[in-house]
């Protein structure tokens, strides 16, 4: 048991912390391809969202000023798919707590944020894949970007950033409730409520007055709004500022709260 073999040099804390984050991200990416639920959520569900919403609602809903419903719909269901997928992040961290995986990680000499950051990194890559997949399927049924390639890239960037914020939120939820099933519910419930009271399927202007105020401030409306502006064309500054404010606000609360909660686990 003597003579530690090949222990890497420790240049400061940042490089080891990044290396640990990468290792944890690698673990979660491997799981993504091997755990059936995760694989379905990352592949089949996004495809079904595009096809079902397009063909089930597309015939009945005509949004003023939009020629193809899919152009209006896609930004919203990208946000929805990312929100649903993020609930699995809360489930996974709660599972790691109950199986002792977190105990093992906490007994290792790694930065306390690395386990969470690694998880978020893997989620971000998954969400990039999900977003591109949904765009590809939507393109096959008629979706087109109307504001050019730069705006299209910015839309993908906002989608991934949305996923990062949702991942941190679900990590916090999973660490707070500690039970995988409750974590799944806690992650899905707000998304479902916010989804139906948002502009995802229909414009806010078609809702009753009392609901409009809520629907306008709803983060799903705001995040969908910026994606929509970047896909359809039109003014983007205001939606981008609103969305950025929501994302920065969410991250400013959830990152420190989740990190402290993880560090002080018992």
């Amino acid at each position: 048991m003597t003579g530690v073999t090949g222990r890497a040099a420790q240049p400061g804390w940042l490089i080891p912390a990044l290396a640990s984050t990468g290792t944890i991200a690698g673990r979660n990416l491997r799981r993504l391809a091997r755990v059936p639920t995760l694989l379905v959520l990352a592949t089949l569900q996004p495809v079904l969202f595009v096809l079902l919403f397009t063909y089930a609602f597309g015939g009945a809903i005509h949004v003023p000023g939009v020629a193809h419903y899919i152009d209006y719909l896609l930004p919203g269901i990208i946000v929805l798919a990312i929100g649903f997928g993020a609930s699995q992040t809360g489930v996974a961290i709660a599972e790691d707590l109950s199986t002792g995986m977190i105990d093992r990680f906490r007994s290792l000499p790694i930065a306390s944020g690395a386990v969470l950051a690694g998880r978020v990194t893997a989620d971000a890559l998954r969400n990039l894949f999900v977003t591109v997949l949904m765009i590809a399927v939507a393109a096959a049924v008629g979706f087109r970007f109307h504001a050019g390639p730069d705006a299209a890239l910015a839309a993908i960037g906002f989608a991934v950033a949305t996923g990062v914020a949702f991942s941190w939120l679900n990590l916090l939820l999973g660490l707070a409730v500690r039970d995988p099933e409750s974590a799944g519910l806690a992650g899905l419930f707000p998304v479902i409520i916010l989804f139906f009271t948002s502009s995802t399927l229909v414009p806010v202007a078609t809702m009753p007055g009392w609901l409009q105020a809520f629907a306008k401030a709803n983060p799903i409306t705001v995040l969908t709004g910026v994606l929509r502006a970047l896909c359809l064309g039109g003014p983007t500054a205001r939606p981008a500022i609103e969305a950025t404010a929501w994302l920065v606000g969410l991250l400013a609360v959830t990152i420190p709260a989740a990190t402290v909660r993880y560090r002080d686990l018992s």
Partner: protein, 320 residues
């Protein structure tokens, strides 16, 4: 390492009204193996979690591998390996992937982690299964992988919390061999268990805890003597009164024989088990009695608790 591997003084941990630890002192010299023995709920896991820096004690202090657990937990983590009560390995990674991951997180280089994972896979007899998802492993294989995961960085101090719980007899034997090798390799090991036999086999020092306090500690033989030595177990054949059997062997042991009328079993505490057999045989022949089986064994945890504390393991008197 001149310092002791573990020194704990007056550790107290409360969960609400329950004192999981109520002032525990402990010392493990470098290179030693300490068996922490106690029933469920005795405080074993709480103690391990505190020493492994996962839980903060309410009172008391401890040094592990020379570092204070409260003041320098990061240094402690670089020098310990932990195998918790549940095999904490990822079922959706292969055995090798699990080990390489833990190796990387322990600070090994990519190549170092791979090489060390390969060594441990061979050492723990997992070579045939290293490329399979852990999901397909048996309980015993998972447990061995979990122990391997605690050894990646070759830590000088190892915590093994009930490593054989839930294993079948073969799995237990295999793991005992591995743990014996580790101890022989010079690691300092704190091992918790519910089985006297396991502590006796692996540990140089045994500490018995119950209800959050140390009840007894010492070398296995010493403790066994305190716990009333070995037990001679006689099984009455059908149709014969076990009380007759007890009467025949009374006075041969260190205490009165215990009779379990339902099972027909008579248990006699004895100081010199093997030496007493001829006398027992003589008494039985003299009384014209038969036994269907006769066995000599060490005291069970229940019996040791009774002898050392004159209290049953579970205050309600319902052993699990």
């Amino acid at each position: 390492m001149a310092d002791a591997a573990i020194v704990a003084e007056g550790l107290v941990k409360r969960f609400g009204p329950v004192a999981a630890l109520d002032g525990v002192d402990l010392e493990l010299p470098a290179g030693g193996v300490l068996g922490l023995l106690g029933p469920n709920g005795a405080g074993k896991t709480t103690l391990v979690r505190i020493l492994a820096t996962l839980l903060r004690p309410d009172r008391g202090r401890a040094r592990v591998a020379g570092f204070d657990i409260a003041e320098n937990p990061a240094a402690v983590r670089r020098l310990i390996g932990l195998s918790g009560q549940y095999a904490a390995v990822d079922p959706f990674l292969t055995g090798r992937e699990n080990l390489v991951m833990i190796g990387r997180l322990s600070g090994l280089s990519r190549r170092g982690a791979r090489r060390r994972a390969g060594e441990l896979i061979d050492q723990l007899g997992l070579a045939g299964a290293a490329g399979r998802l852990v999901r397909t492993y048996s309980g015993g294989m998972r447990r061995r992988l979990d122990v391997a995961a605690s050894l990646l960085a070759a830590p000088p101090v190892l915590f093994l919390d009930e490593p054989t719980t839930g294993l079948d007899p073969r799995g237990r034997l295999e793991l005992w061999q591995v743990l014996g090798q580790l101890a022989a390799g010079g690691a300092s090991v704190l091992l918790t268990t519910q089985y006297i036999e396991e502590a006796e086999r692996l540990a140089g020092t045994i500490v018995i805890i119950g209800h959050g306090t140390v009840i007894a500690s010492g070398a296995p033989d010493q403790l066994k003597a305190q716990a009333g030595g070995d037990r001679l177990e006689l099984q009455t054949p059908p149709g014969q009164d076990p009380r007759q059997l007890a009467g025949a062997v009374a006075g041969l042991g260190t205490a009165q024989p215990a009779v379990d009328e339902a099972s027909g079993r008579v248990v006699l505490p004895v100081a010199d088990g093997a030496g007493i057999l001829p006398a027992v045989a003589g008494r039985l022949a003299g009384a014209g009695l038969h036994v269907s089986t006769l066995a000599l064994r060490g005291p069970s945890l229940e019996e040791a608790f009774l002898a050392l504390t004159s209290q049953p393991v579970h205050p309600t008197g319902s052993p699990q």
